[in-house]
């Protein structure tokens, strides 16, 4: 599966919502369950999924689907 699809699945599992509800602009603003604890879970789940390790400084900025996808892709390349 392409990276975007896998990211959507990870987010759906962490936030317990259907993957289809995660738009390209999804952010804590429109996903109610996206609080600070779930944010850590999201980061850990993405790292586990893609076997990557985000830089500590970029973790707070991973609050939008597009940014997450771009960051993950940068690590994958």
């Amino acid at each position: 599966m392409e990276a975007e699809g896998r990211i959507r699945n990870v987010m759906a599992a962490v936030f317990d919502i259907p993957a289809a509800e995660i738009t390209d602009d999804a952010s804590p603003h429109d996903i109610k369950t996206w609080d600070s604890l779930k944010h850590i879970n999201l980061v850990l789940a993405l790292e586990d999924e893609f076997d990557i390790h985000f830089d500590e400084a970029e973790i707070p900025s991973l609050v939008n689907f597009r940014i997450i996808a771009a960051t993950v892709r940068a690590y994958a390349e």
């Binding site: 990870v10 759906a12 599992a13 317990d16 850990l44 789940a45 586990d48």
Partner: protein
């Protein structure tokens, strides 16, 4: 352990499993002085997959002492108590403290530990981790003060672990995962979370055997195929002198180690058996005479050596040992047999001998946790003998046409011990492990039983059964709570399956009712609570002339007006009052 799921997949499947939970909950509280938020779903998932309806609550950060009061009613309390977090951030600061100040931290932590264990003394099960300094000391060339403090705390913990607690060696978990993969210091500095998802997955697997054991789900018997499983070679083709299991040869040494591991499990109370397609005389000859064979007749509780299919043989083995198929672990080298058993008897845990034989002993050893027993007692050591007596009885039973005359010929003696403090561990073990003949299936710990034994309003009766074939050891338990002089409740009545089918339950009930009547009881209440395994005793109290008062799908409530009790005709069971001397004294030499 199989292939590990990704964390997001664990979250997804755990949510799905939550929807299929029944009404029962297995409440787990994690008390911690660091942050381990992600353990909730990972531990829930690991246990729910095994049919345990686990619900995990994580206590407040660094609030272990207060939380130990708040969560003491959990079925399980897990403690994450990290030495580098016992007095603020200690990991590097500790090297700047004086010995006096470090000693104060040590004393304070020991005092808190004592208090927490005391607060949790009635909790069924407490899992405490060894203290570890590894996240901050693994690279030290010279040991620092944190490592020293950790060593002292572990020594203290070893000497002060209460009966209801078990210790998980955290350094071993970390070694398995790898230190780099266990810790993630990014979240240490921001939220005091030291552990990675990888670590938490591995840790949850370490919790599993303890939980399964406390719920009576530990495996009881390890059944081996023979050719290329207990020895190298095919007996029927190569003959007794052709097979190998000697440490003197490379081919034999794998099997020598496997037999040593099996023998050691047997000494811990695990039943060992054979299930092999061979000529029985050939296998008997190897067991009796082969110089390198370590598993001898006295270690083997059951042998099914014939040309019938393994599925029927395993069924018969379970029946002969009087244990469930889900209590069996079966080891075989043949993919055909392994798959056949897996597909026909999914309850049986099947291990296949690995193709790379150097992995075989460690694979078997790693599965030792399946047999995890929370309390190893003197009974375990002589279990094989007792189950073999049972097997002899089964054979005799077939020879006698009339069951009653068979039973009468056994010379059965029932020895009853009342409130005997010397057998508390065995009584707790019976309560935790007995599934089939168990009217209420309430699991009690050693602490619980000890309290009943010393309590004035509760009587705890244990009994052993002996006959001309042998002595069963303590195999029955009955707990009676006195509501007042005239009314009593049978809270627990259970018997090990080893003594089923001999009508001793009726002999005991005759004795109990007569005894209660002498004490002035007019009414005795009793209850049957259905589980997946105790259907055979559903009508036990009906058979004992109790009247059904109320019933739901899962529960049947009874009352007996004592003077209306109709005793069963089981005079061939002789009753002996063992309470004048303790069990240890009666059987001192044999335990």
């Amino acid at each position: 352990m199989g292939i590990e799921l990704k964390y997001s997949e664990i979250l997804r499947q755990n949510t799905a499993l939550a929807r299929s939970l029944g009404e029962e909950r297995y409440k787990i509280s994690v008390l911690t002085n660091v942050t381990v938020s992600q353990i909730k779903e990972i531990l829930e998932y690991t246990l729910r997959l095994e049919g345990v309806p686990a619900v995990v609550t994580i206590g407040d950060y660094d609030n272990i002492v207060q939380d130990s009061l708040k969560y003491k009613r959990s079925e399980l309390v897990v403690l994450f108590w990290e030495p580098y977090s016992t007095a603020g951030d200690l990991q590097y600061r500790i090297d700047l403290l004086s010995d006096f100040e470090v000693n104060k931290i040590f004393d304070k932590t020991c005092a808190e530990l004592g208090l927490v264990f005391k607060n949790l003394q009635e909790t069924s099960l407490v899992l405490m981790n060894t203290f570890t300094s590894l996240p901050f000391s693994a690279m030290d060339v010279m040991p620092g003060k944190l490592e020293e403090l950790t060593r002292k705390l572990n020594a203290h913990l070893r000497d002060h672990t209460p009966k209801n607690a078990r210790v998980i060696d955290l350094d071993k978990v970390i070694a398995r995962v790898g230190i780099e993969k266990s810790f993630d210091l990014r979240y240490w500095y921001s939220s005091k979370a030291p552990y990675t998802i990888n670590f938490l997955k591995s840790y949850s697997h370490c919790v599993k055997p303890f939980v399964l054991s406390s719920r009576g789900k530990a495996k009881k018997a390890l059944i081996f195929d023979c050719d290329n499983t207990l020895w190298k070679g095919v007996l029927g083709e190569e003959g007794v002198s052709g097979i190998q299991m000697s440490r003197a040869t490379k081919e034999g040494s794998f099997f020598a180690d496997v037999q040593s591991i099996a023998l050691s499990l047997n000494k811990q109370g695990v039943l060992i058996g054979l299930c092999s397609k061979n000529n029985p005389q050939d296998v008997d000859e190897v067991v009796r005479l082969h110089p390198d064979m370590q598993l001898r007749d006295e270690n083997l509780a059951v042998k099914r050596v014939n040309w019938a299919d393994k599925v029927s043989n395993l069924r018969e083995i379970a029946r002969e040992l009087n244990i469930g198929l889900d209590s069996l672990v079966f080891v075989d080298d043949s993919a055909f047999e392994v798959n056949l058993v897996r597909s026909q008897l999914p309850e049986v845990t099947v291990l296949q001998v690995p193709e790379s034989l150097h992995l075989y002993p460690s694979m078997l050893r790693a599965n030792g946790g399946l047999f995890c027993s929370l309390s190893i007692t003197a009974e375990d050591a002589k279990k094989t003998e007792m189950y073999k007596d049972q097997a002899h009885r089964e054979v005799s039973k077939m020879e006698f046409g009339d069951l009653e005359s068979y039973l009468a010929s056994l010379g059965t003696k029932l020895t009853i011990h009342e409130d005997d403090v010397s057998i508390v561990a065995r009584m707790a073990q019976l309560s935790q492990k007995t599934n089939q003949f168990n009217l209420t299936t309430i699991r009690y710990t050693e602490g619980d039983i000890g309290a009943f034994v010393s309590g004035a309003l509760t009587s705890v009766f244990a009994f052993s059964v002996s006959d001309r074939f042998g002595d069963s050891g303590i195999t029955g338990l009955c707990i009676v709570k006195n509501l007042d002089v005239q009314e009593a409740v049978i809270d627990t009545f259970l018997m090990s399956c080893r003594v089923l089918g001999r009508n001793v339950e009726y002999a005991f009930m005759n004795w109990l009712i007569e005894r209660l009547e002498r004490q002035g009881a007019r009414r005795v209440y009793a209850r049957y609570v259905e589980t997946a395994k105790n259907a055979q005793v559903k009508e036990f109290f009906d058979c004992c002339s109790f009247s059904l008062r109320a019933s739901t799908e899962k529960e049947r409530d009874y009352v007996l007006n004592v003077h209306e009790y109709k005793s069963k005709q089981v005079e061939y069971v002789e009753i002996i009052d063992g309470s004048r001397r303790s069990y240890q004294e009666c059987y001192g030499g044999r335990l």
